[in-house]
Symmetry: C2
Subunit: 371 residues, 2 copies
């Protein structure tokens, strides 16, 4: 394993592909919560306890073949902006950044080379393993973390109860400790006002939904994260399969809603998506929330073939790279809010213009239906 | 004089130039209200009376050297869409179109060749002569109608009272019968919230202001028409000069306000004008009110050199040609509202793209200040 410097560029691999059902599903994530046998849970551990846990996990990671070449980052040693970049790439949680942005001693993240996954150490649980994949690939994402889980478990015994399964800091994670989630784009259901009904249905089959990041964040740009609520009473594979099947149903409902839009409101939809594209190409100042809302319009337009571009890959990339820490990293300095909005607009415009110049964008700009 | 067919294309000459102070003043208009001696005012005349007046004015027009080659259009004989086109080109008033769009017998308009002017017959007064010019050219517009007034008056004696001056149907026009107006674009004063104060000042010196067309129409896109309120007690030349001097003051105040914008809110202004341009280039549906508002943003951007184009001439042209009757004329058929908005967007987009391709537009698209 190597140090902080080798982390730059990591965690973006999933952006280079689109994956199955990319017209609705942006990405898939599976995480496992694990704790070391005989060690106090993180909230009770204190600094010495956390450092002891970290040391044992580091040892286990060093022996895990899947983690050959992985970067091990002790959070307090990572510069503040780089920590936020890790968060914006979804490799570490808000919690791991620490209260007030000061990470606790003993917190760390291990980022494997070549695949998009991360192992958070001393987050809510001793170990949180997560795998990310583009599109709807829940089983693939699960297999990735399952392999890591097994290799780590060979070196450090994990807290497991024959009746309950894996023991976790929060009772809601006891059992498999598994949460499988899909980040879905549902503009059709929102515009046809079917979204409430569909989300209610999702809740009734044991799944839950929320905005793009963490609990409590508002839903922006018609992006929803759907995941399982319970982790107990089923095998990991069955849980993943259950989520995959429900997400598949949501995808079908969304695609039907889009057909309704095309049948009943094609002109209005076309106008909406072209305006979103025009604003992204011309705005000189963009807040992240507005960017997400405009990207939602563009994504719908591309999916419905009303817009000639940009490619879904670029849309995904913009969602990640137009966040504050990434913009500050590109600028090489801290940005005041107004500057940040201007840099964001500049980045988005340049990226879209480059894509259009490469033939993935406005080149076919008049391909929409003409009056 | 010639018939209806020769009217197409007329009344657009002023669009081919920009005129003085084109960064603030779109156009200038001077009109004279005149009535024939010994004939009842239009409202009292009845059909026979109106036809008699028309016949005498037609005779006078035929003898006027300035009206050589002019088109004489009897309103009831002009097809409905062409009547609305004349209105959209500001050659005839809403009143001349008649209640319910059915013009009265005896109403007519004479459109001289080669200059932008019109003589309305049997509008509120027997004769309404008006001259239009691009930019701020009140004296030139006045000289144009003054010449016509003199030539007509040689053949038909005009109702004139030694004490009051020209007699008109409405007492507010008695005296010179002259109204001089300038169509001004005041986004700087609107954005710096100085507009109320300035318009109050305009009222205090005997001028009045209103929206783009006629009384009671709302102000759209920060466009205001400033004109004299009284027509009595001064010579025509003095009145025109008075209006010209006040408009000049308004122009200076507007230019100062724009400098304040550039100093205190450059980034926000730049964002605003680029967004307006982006929407005009990409929208698939545009209402006229929104078009005016977006054109206002673009006009400000071009004036402040934040936007590379389009030329003011094209902006003026779009304001006229993107109106309903012109769009229907281009389509060769009546358009339902939704269709009309789509045709408008298509026309605007095509015009702007052609202009940009000719080097008057987006070519220098990144010339705005970069963050």
């Amino acid at each position: 394993m190597s140090g902080p410097d080798s982390a730059s560029g990591r965690g973006l691999d999933w952006l280079d592909a689109t994956g199955p059902h990319a017209d609705v599903v942006l990405s898939t994530r599976v995480r496992l919560a694990r704790n070391l046998q005989g060690c106090a849970f993180v909230s009770q551990a204190g600094e010495a306890g956390r450092l002891a846990v970290l040391s044992r996990i580091e040892e286990a990671a060093a022996r895990a073949p899947l983690l050959e070449g992985a970067a091990m980052l002790r959070m307090p040693a990572v510069p503040e902006r780089q920590r936020r970049i890790l968060h914006e790439r979804r490799l570490v949680s808000q919690e791991l950044l620490g209260a007030g942005g000061e990470p606790l001693a003993g917190t760390a993240v291990i980022v494997p080379a070549g695949s998009t996954a991360s192992l958070m150490v001393n987050e809510e649980d001793h170990l949180r393993l997560q795998g990310l994949a583009p599109g709807l690939q829940l089983m693939e994402a699960w297999r990735r973390v399952d392999g890591l889980d097994e290799e780590i478990g060979r070196t450090v015994p994990l807290a497991y109860h024959n009746e309950f399964g894996y023991l976790t800091a929060c009772p809601t994670n006891v059992g498999t400790g598994l949460r499988a989630s899909a980040l879905v784009h549902l503009p059709g259901l929102v515009l046809t006002k079917e979204i409430e009904k569909v989300l209610r249905g999702v809740s009734q089959v044991g799944l839950t939904f929320r905005g793009l990041y963490g609990e409590g964040s508002g839903v922006v740009g018609n992006f929803f994260q759907i995941s399982n609520q319970t982790t107990l009473g089923k095998s990991e594979e069955d849980l993943v399969d259950h989520v995959a099947r429900i997400v598949d149903t949501v995808i079908q409902t969304e695609l039907q809603a889009r057909q309704v839009l095309m049948r009943d409101a094609r002109a209005a939809t076309e106008d909406k998506v072209w305006r979103a594209y025009g604003l992204l190409l011309h705005a000189r100042s963009l807040r992240y929330e507005e960017l997400m809302s405009l990207l939602s319009g563009v994504r719908l337009g591309v999916a419905l073939e009303l817009l000639p571009g940009p490619l879904v890959r670029l849309q995904n990339k913009i969602m990640i790279l137009a966040q504050t820490a990434h913009l500050e990293d590109a600028a090489g300095r801290k940005l005041a809010p107004e500057e940040r909005h201007a840099h964001r607009a500049e980045y988005v415009r340049t990226a879209l213009e480059a894509s259009a110049a490469a033939g993935n964008g406005e080149k076919g700009g008049t391909s929409g239906s003409q009056p």
